[in-house]
């Protein structure tokens, strides 16, 4: 599963810590999500999408094998 969290955050000009604070999670968790080490829960994924005024599907992109 790829994601665009890092890209969107950078475009927004905010730090990982700021995004974490906005979402109620730690800076370390934002870092893990951006690097693909941690797949967030559905509520957190929705909160991320809402934060960037986007949808979960536009931010979290499944790999081909995950779609089959």
């Amino acid at each position: 599963m790829r994601n665009r969290v890092g890209e969107l955050r950078t475009a927004s000009g905010i730090s990982q810590g700021d995004l974490g604070t906005a979402l109620g999670v730690s800076r370390q968790t934002i870092n893990s999500i951006e690097n693909g080490r941690y797949l967030p829960s559905l509520p957190l994924a929705l909160a991320i999408a809402r934060n960037f005024r986007s949808t979960v599907e536009e931010i979290f992109i499944p790999d081909e094998e995950e779609l089959t």
Binding site: V25, S26, S41
Partner: protein, 132 residues
């Protein structure tokens, strides 16, 4: 909104060390080994101080030590707890086997640990199954 990394109570792990270490030291004192009891108090006092300092850090381990943190940090804690439970269970089973071989079938305290672990796992599975 608060920073999730700094949630929880800084004294959580300290309390476990103080209560557990204090109880162990008191039991050792009552058992008659006063030197070891004083040594245990010193050891757990240093460990509690280190835990207090560490739990104030803005890190995953710090958050877990405060019994706080976000969903990922709680999962880290849960996974580590499960793994340590497996290790303790394996050690208890091996200890029971060795004890049985050495003491004509008497598994001693290992039996209690195995019983508590097994019953807790079975009950936990039933409860978790109902919840999900």
């Amino acid at each position: 909104m608060t920073n999730a990394t700094l949630t929880g109570h800084r004294g959580a792990t300290v309390a476990v060390l103080v209560v557990g270490g204090g109880g162990l030291a008191a039991a050792t004192w009552v058992g008659g080994d006063h030197g070891l009891a004083i040594g245990l108090v010193a050891f757990y006092a240093v460990a509690a101080a280190a835990a207090y300092i560490w739990s104030g850090r803005d890190s995953d381990v710090g958050a877990i030590m405060r019994a706080g943190g976000d969903e990922r940090q709680r999962r880290l804690d849960r996974d580590a707890t499960a793994l340590s439970g497996l290790a303790m269970g394996a050690a208890a089973i091996i200890g029971a086997i060795v004890s049985a071989a050495r003491n004509h079938g008497d598994i001693g305290g290992y039996g209690v640990i195995c019983f508590v672990g097994g019953v807790t796992y079975a009950l936990s599975l039933l409860i978790q199954k109902r919840r999900s």
